[in-house]
Chain length 333, copies 6
């Protein structure tokens, strides 16, 4: 199925900056829309151009804060997606750089919600045809919850290319800050070995328990003299990252970098980021850096833009083409 018109891109206000970069990558301007807030707390958003018979992409990152809460952003996205159908869009894709509630993916306590599935139900209910997300916390939840089409992007090659020049000559280790992230770390390690063309080690943190109580951290794996990349999907308060760095340095690591797609930086994150034990914190632009002091951000945080990744994924959704190859390189199958 081929489209003769270019894709139509909308960005809700809270994701404007990243969306501009995606639009630039695609050489397609962001289409105009109006987004009004009313005194009683309701809002109304509408496109200002015709979307009839077009292939539409609505970009909204679902991080909390700045002017809107997470739930606010979800409703704004849901209603705007619905509005696309109103206007006769032929296909509607939700591009969600940071997908909220990805960690509410199972019942950990009795009668817990399974919010990941509710997010799928809601996005589908308003007529979304495709959901594009990046480094979702639990890809199993993501791939099972949705019945509409999904595209899951990851930052592995992006980060590997970004960091390849930094690691120097000595040993390099990829570390997961907890056992649940070992799978993610392994996938990055494999990518990184391909990119730098030499062996990369693995390590991970465990909670040391005594009598059922967590008493400290345990580092599994050899990091002596190594350049360590602690890899996670997101950084919240930064505490987890800092504890991992600390453990690595104690075990003789040369230097520790923190890598995560989504930099939420809530609570005491700024303090963690500035801690000298973390040489650098590398994140992407899926969440704006509004909570960090710009100077701290400037000196301690490196931001890798996901715009080329989202842009290219949108292009391949629009024109056809392999997203497997986009993520894993041309030789993947």
């Amino acid at each position: 199925m081929k489209w003769t018109d270019p894709p139509v891109l909308f960005s809700l206000n809270a994701t404007r900056e990243l969306s501009e970069r995606i639009a630039q990558y695609l050489d397609v301007p962001l289409s105009e829309h109006e987004e009004r807030d009313f005194e009683d707390g309701e809002h109304k958003a509408r496109p200002l151009v015709s979307v009839r018979a077009r292939d539409v992409y609505v970009i909204q990152s679902l991080y909390g804060g700045e002017n809107e809460t997470v739930n606010d952003k979800i409703c704004r996205l849901l209603f705007f997606l619905g509005t696309m159908r109103e206007g006769g869009a032929a296909r509607v894709t939700a591009v969600i750089p940071y997908l909220a509630y990805a960690r509410k993916d199972r019942q950990t306590k009795p009668r817990d919600p399974v919010v990941t599935r509710y997010m799928a139900l809601l996005l589908e209910a308003v007529g979304t045809d495709v959901v594009i997300a990046l480094d979702v916390h639990n890809i199993v939840a993501f791939q099972n919850a949705f019945r509409c089409r999904t595209e899951h992007l990851d930052t592995r090659r992006l980060f590997a290319e970004h960091i390849r020049e930094r690691v120097g000559e000595g040993p390099v280790v990829v570390a997961s800050p907890d056992p649940g992230g070992v799978k993610r770390a392994q996938l990055f390690q494999e990518t990184f070995e391909r990119v730098i063309g030499r062996d990369v080690g693995m390590a991970w943190m465990e909670k040391r328990r005594s009598a059922g109580v967590v008493t400290g951290n345990l580092l599994v794996g050899d990091v002596k003299g190594a350049f360590v990349l602690v890899v996670d999907d997101l950084i919240s308060t930064g505490g987890t990252m800092l504890r991992a760095a600390e453990a690595c340095l104690e075990q003789g690591a040369r230097e520790v970098y923190a890598l995560a797609a989504h930099g939420l930086f809530v609570g005491e994150a700024e303090k963690a980021i500035r801690d000298p034990r973390l040489s650098k914190t590398i994140i992407t632009d899926t969440v704006p850096l509004f909570r960090l002091n710009p100077d701290v951000a400037q000196s301690h945080v490196e931001i890798v833009s996901t715009a080329p990744l989202f842009g290219e994924a949108i292009r391949r959704c629009h024109e056809g083409g392999s997203i497997v190859e986009l993520l894993e390189g041309p030789s993947a199958s």
Copy 2:
């Protein structure tokens, strides 16, 4: 279909007070739940009791403000409804004393959303079987948008009984503050005539226009010497009500009362409420009075509780029985 267990009632935190009164009416305690907020802006709510095979009612009023925005409250309601399904509830009813976005019911500008329909889609998506609402802004939108069962309650008999002793001997007129509300006002007028057993007049406000520009207000109908009840579905800033009162008094009205189910009282509402041209503002308890100075509320606002109405509607949904008769009296058919 009969239930041998009583209904299970949950109230999300923001509607706690009204819910307590409903629970008291039904002589069924509110069931416990946990509602936690996380630092990153997400939340999690779960019931603390088994709902398996039960007839569950979740009460949440969707007003904006206090601690949560409108959109926040919508997501909290949607996720909690979903959680009921998780726990094996046999039937899930959303009781929504104030239904948000009821005025976003059509495309007034090109490519506008039709949020009323999206609300229906979202509530149905999480597995809601029945929606109970009260004095929804546009009942046509409400009755067309939902495909799950709905019960629409109204305050006509409630308000009529509350106000019947106040109107004195002289003429009584029901007024609508705009032409769109004439139907609602007429329905109240008919109920009120039945309740007080004598004629009640009708009046309504029009916008006076000149060259397409609104230049003032026009009162249609005779209010001379009358006790006037200005009837609307909600009070936002109160400006509309005040303009109507002004126009009525100019035309010789004896006294003007404002009646509306939902008292949002945003913006300069307090000033309007205190204006001596409004003898009294009568609302219900669907929206808490958190925005008004308690003294102002005490002296200028009367609150009629909807708890018996919601309670009895829940009872009839649970046990079977006529809601038509609940609303219109036993002789209705």
Copy 3:
């Protein structure tokens, strides 16, 4: 999404004339179909050409009478739409110049049906992708009831262009025959002001009540010396229009025209149409004039064809393009 083949147009027999004009506008012939009636009252219709992978438009106006009842026409439309799916149509659009049951849009009596929603359910059930309708009685019901795509067309510019030369030099007033139609009349007034480039007044009829009983009509607004256009969505017996004309003339109107998209002309409509108080009745061709004496129709009724409107809407659905601009002019947004 682009189509390389032209759209395929079918017209069920009862809407043949209008459909021919639409086909002519689009320069696409009506595709052949067979429509047979059986002795036991069943019928069968089938296309006589392949519709595989095509963009199909089925035109059927749902007025009552002539050879088929309203319900008959509904079933014929539903079954034929289903048949399109059978034949592998890629997209099926129901073009319904007059949408029946649009006034059964809410529960006015206890336990009433909400037929507008049932119409949506039925049209969607047989696989309709898009519904195109014109001047539906209640656009709120229409926009909320359907979950498939809809396009709502209106006659405002069509009528405004048709009548612009007639109104002469003096004041012009648009009147609604009842309060429920004020919104529609205002929208026409705004369009008409744009078209004729000068002020147009507003007026409307109210029912005068005494003791709850309707005792007469009340005209709100100034029509003295004015050329009055009474605007409604449909003319049934014409009684409402005639009462409006009478009231306008009593208040000094110069001349009264009746405008309505759908001329049903049932009951004593012919008598109303011939009444000299109505200078002219202007309708469209959504309903054939089979109930009026041709001479009466000739001298008292003007018919504005909707074929260019439906034709152009079909073209823009097929090729993409703005229907907002079609309805409101190129500068709309």
Copy 4:
């Protein structure tokens, strides 16, 4: 699942008589409803009692004629079923004694509709939970088309019991008037053998063809001296039945009875019925006899009431219980 209240029965006007008998069987009164026709050809029907939480049965036979066409009756049924949902019915069953369009069950010509499936889609779309029908033309179509629950009743035991005393001592043969009906005839033959406790023969009619042209009828099977029961699902013009009788008598049959559940009697049916070659025509009360002269009906037609069958099926749907045993006798499995 048990119901503590009795079932609620509604009958649309066109099936009033049979419905009264079903209600009598169940000792449950028909619930009142209102059914109004409007001048423009639309109608409105609504229940006059509360159906909230009840198990509702709506009876409507979909024959053509009398005051309403087949399509009319279909729409009336669909809308009324929808209205039941509006009123909060817990379960809605459509009881359709004669199911129209059952012979439009496949594409016999290119691009034909498959109306049997559309009927299923439409009935399900308005929220029907169960469909009960009787002797549907093609049970394969019926059992495949519906995704909601269905109950298919048949007249075999009803007719067998009714006719058992008539057949006398000599040979008895069951005949099908065409090859498509052989299966139905065989099933009746088996039931009849069980009921009368002796052998029953089989015969059927074939079209004799020459050079692809039908040149006459061919009777397969031995009917000499036999009491012949020609069995079909419905009688339309009666021509088929008459040709079968003629062929049987030519082959030496003693006497020929026509048996069919549904007596439509269209066209020249009266003439066929009165033809002396048919000793008697036995039908049920699923279609009223409005087209036959009452005297002809009185002397040539016997009517077996299906009320006990429908009544008992409704009882078993409501209370639980085996419909297999109802149809085939207590020993069936």
Copy 5:
């Protein structure tokens, strides 16, 4: 809707040979996939190429035996169809040369399954857009059960062209081996008359019964001196075909051919095929001949390939075009 890329064809392993021929007809290579079996009995299949935005056809014939059971093949097909959606296919068509369970099309015993409908439910559940099948046992079941699009192909012209030269000068008769197949035989007879340009007779087998017990076979129709083509949808053990041949020869038939689309050849089929009373058995390649001794197959069975039929149907689904004309010839309508 036009596709700029060619269709993508996949064949699950069990239908490889026919699929190769279809691919050759279309001049489109079969796309690669991987199909692995695990020790615990599960399997996994995945495409090895991108299917994003493509028009995909998955070919799997659902015969039992060889390495996989019928149910095995069904699951393999269902999961692979689901996988196509995972990969972003724009449209997914299941091409099922032999559709299993087509004879489980109704409840013949109490509480029987209606497996034809379950097959439809399952195929639709995994996201199949179109199902293409050939000579399904009961086309009524097929056309009613599916709600996704279906294309039903038949072998009539294929077989007629194949056999036209064999029939010689004398009378030709098409025979059905049971009454349920008469309709199918008649359709073939009509096609064959058109192809050979002269009259073709009809005959069919009945079971002779005595006292409800089948005692033998009865041949209806004149086959004296005729070349007889016994036509069925499938050959299972061949017993039915053999009994028909026997009866025809007893009645003086010159020669008997067996024709059926699907050659399952289970049980004692080889013995039946070799029986000299059957001159030849003609089938298609929808089911591989793995159960017959190759020599027997070589000398007694002729195979007509369905590849051009499936290939051309796929082409017309992909490019648009009439399948009616494909089946019935260019003059059909």
Copy 6:
């Protein structure tokens, strides 16, 4: 919602033994059904009793082997569930002691299927209301994939009670054979600590890698002198368990038990089970032990019956009641 009749239990043949035990627990006999296999590889199953208006539970464990493959068992379950709907069951629950394809829960290679979700789609498609499963490989996949109700049971308390007397006085450690199972092992450890009232340690196996190649196993955690319980969801070839036992013993473990809900025992499992390094293998009866030599099973394997767990879960689904408390004990909330 209460049921007055007891639940109806069916067991497909392959799960007969466990089902008998469940029926015994509930004191409800298994209802009779017929399950026939045909020569062409199709099968047919039907209930032999009425299920109308009943609460039905169909038990089928989806292990491979014995007479039927995994896929075979899936189809048998799906069709039989569909048949329950046919017979008018009020609610249908699939009880699946071993849920197949639970490890195909994500795309590990490009374009992989997500079979866990397809299983949900298929079970829902045939009308399943509730799915009850036990110790599913990945509970996140399970809880996200299904949109019908699910109940997930686990063996933690069952195993803890079974093994509590064996562990002796010394240290006790729960070990996971791979990092993906750490969460499961931790949950068992917590349960076990509660049951035996003292500390239980944790350990797990990691793959030791060198240059991206797995070179051996690494045991994390202290097992010196400990009684070690290696916990997994299933045992396939037993290799994983054996490697874990080996590593534990090397690190000084006193004794090693293998615990897993599902004993598939494929391939060389018997050899692993008999290996002296595994003191005992403890499994449940969700999969029959048909692949092991009975003597080996007798001496090396202990089977804990899940019948009380499934039985009680069915009772609570039928009567209402907390499954959280069933799994976690009465004090859970």
